[in-house]
Symmetry: C3
């Protein structure tokens, strides 16, 4: 069994933003030399997500609006108990649960085995600082 | 390490519907000959889900109502920016985030290692056309 | 390829509660002797979750309130069709979809490869009875 491990760092300039990461992941799959296996990509921070969806700016705008409705940003200690600890990012912990922590992608014949529109995104809900994403590839 | 890769095709006649897929997955685990390993099952389309829950029609009806409340179907360009691109399925991209893209199931002693009521479902949110699900099994 | 399989049992005294499980999972990774691989941790019951987030009681209180808003407990047969079967836990099946069934964690150099605040939780939405969690570790 072969494996490859890599930590990627993202520093997004907005509080909430999505960044396309598949080109990097595809490069790592090639670098691993693995033909058949699994590729795990996960956020290493609990106010961020890794998810697979469409690379379409209108949809990303829709997601941000929807997540803001489901779990509004509110740094005050009234709405969220978490923000009584001195934090202001309780909303980000909620948004991350909707969008997920991780994806697992099949590797077939040396490539990410994707459907026609699948793209891997880093989802940031409490940005403006460096945060890490893990890529772990195992197989043969 | 052994592996087995299979793409299943689903063409559901309704826009939103759930279809039980574990018999097929269990057959593929047998076919793989893998005794200990992991089985990834994922939607290859970004308006569909693979999830594990109960095979109970009342619950599925509840899920559909709930998803419709959380992200209503609305083909107009007013509610969703995504639908200004000529698409009408922005709601389906939202519903899929709630129900998830994929499941990873343990294989133990040659079988899917399931709890008493676990069943794998294909969740369709923009149906009436052929869409694919990936099954990837790795192990020994 | 090596593997380790373990079923953990949780009996929580409240209907909805979260319990930290990483010490146990870290012990199992050590026991497996696996240096590079993947660790799957999943709920084996469909009214429970395994998720990764912060070990902060205020946040957990926020999650409970939020999940109750998104899918209120209501044992009557009016709100949920599922509860017309004699069940009273339709809400728990909905809450579990938000919090997820499983996590997959990378193992690097013999340890769970975690970010600074990542902790694995068992999430119970229909407790007061024994329920199982699966840990499956594969690698070399």
């Amino acid at each position: 069994m072969k494996s490859l491990t890599r930590h990627l760092t993202f520093t997004l300039s907005e509080r909430m933003a999505f960044e396309n990461i598949p080109p990097t992941v595809a490069d790592l799959v090639r670098e691993s030399g693995i033909q058949e296996g699994l590729c795990l990509v996960n956020a290493m921070h609990i106010t961020a997500s890794v998810f697979i969806n469409d690379d379409e700016p209108g949809l990303h705008r829709d997601y941000k609006k929807w997540l803001e409705e489901l779990a509004p940003f509110d740094p005050s200690p009234e709405r969220y108990h978490h923000n009584r600890t001195g934090e202001d990012n309780a909303d980000a912990h909620h948004k991350r649960q909707i969008m997920g922590r991780e994806v697992v992608v099949a590797i077939t014949e040396g490539k990410l085995d994707f459907g026609p529109w699948e793209q891997i995104f880093y989802g940031e809900f409490d940005g403006r600082r460096p945060k890490r994403v893990m890529v772990k590839i195992i197989g043969e």
